[in-house]
């Protein structure tokens, strides 16, 4: 029931001498552990006991720190977005040819979808496909996720057109939505257990279709 603290990394920032009994957990790592469990079994099939075991916090502590199960799910989803949009932003910030940018983008996504031993897929996709989508607040978050991705991909293709890598006649919206569709497909197939090599082949095929095959001089 005690959280294993990371060896060495002794929460260096701001030890403000809180007043009562000290916490036996770090909220951040607990949230990460809750997220990992939700990604495995989804909202409905994950019990508070499961979450308690996974985080090393007992139920009252969980409740006190994060609220009820629904709130914890929402926080986990926000954490998911924060964690993994970071990696994607790197790919967007770098000045890369569109083909290479997309290749890296899908590669980073596969890292997220295939963490460690077991395949997990995309948490947004899991949420949409669950009954949680009936919750207006959760639905709004998911729609924002869709929209953000479309916008980011749209920017990629627009700058590719500006750089002359794609013809000016390119349909940005169509390219973006096919590129995001490919991402969702990778997430699903990853979770279904299809090996990474095959997923990379799928990604490459999609890139060829989006940008034209290889570099034709």
């Amino acid at each position: 029931m005690v959280q294993k603290k990371k060896a060495g990394a002794e929460a260096p920032v701001a030890a403000p001498k809180r007043r009562g009994r000290p916490r036996a957990y770090e909220p951040d790592v607990a949230l990460g552990q809750a997220l990992a469990l939700f990604r495995k079994t989804g909202f409905a099939a994950t019990s508070l006991d499961d979450l308690s075991a996974a985080t090393g916090m007992n139920r009252p502590s969980l409740y006190g720190a994060f609220g009820d199960k629904r709130e914890l799910y929402i926080r986990s989803y926000q954490r998911y977005r924060e964690d993994y949009s970071g990696a994607a932003v790197e790919v967007f910030k770098a000045d890369l040819p569109i083909r290479e940018r997309l290749r890296r983008f899908y590669d980073v996504a596969l890292d997220v979808y295939l963490p460690g031993d077991a395949p997990r897929g995309c948490f947004t996709v899991m949420t949409v496909a669950s009954d949680a989508i009936a919750d207006p607040e959760i639905r709004a978050m998911v729609l924002e996720g869709f929209s953000d991705l479309d916008k980011a991909l749209g920017w990629c293709f627009r700058t590719a057109v500006a750089k002359g890598e794609l013809p000016a006649s390119a349909d940005i919206a169509a390219l973006s939505s096919v590129a995001s569709a490919t991402l969702y497909s990778l997430a699903l197939r990853a979770r279904a257990g299809i090996p990474r090599k095959q997923l990379e082949t799928i990604a490459k095929g999609a890139i060829d279709l989006l940008c034209g095959p290889a570099k034709a001089p």
Copy 2:
């Protein structure tokens, strides 16, 4: 607790004078009602009481007719495939230009994903995204679903190449996987509540990308 019988249609085929008390339900319609509920809330969040209420069968009858909840889910999934692959087969049988074939294919899919009032998405996608994917038998069914769709789409693009609608250099596997990815994306966005008009625009954009824009003579 009694199933409403369809007015008029009085189960005309084969009334073989069964021996005991007659059933108060028709297994086929009950399975359809169970499927509808599973499509709404998924496996874990759907209780046997919910299923009992939806089918009009009490729990022991449900159990006797379909086995436990897992078996009922599997039967519902098979029913889903049977019901909706039929409509797709029509589109594949007809002798159509590839663009029109794809347009009708996505149109039929949207009928499935947006039944009546509430959006539902794709049951295969829901199953992959749930914890049910951990069940080997269910996982095998889902993988077969992926594979069947890839094969069917592959056939579409191959015949399009044979008919000269697409260049012989077309990458059949890449076209198929992007076409199926588009389908999954439509399923997700449909379930998230995006209106049909927008989904049709997405489908059209994907078709343009797959087959080249419009009919260039």
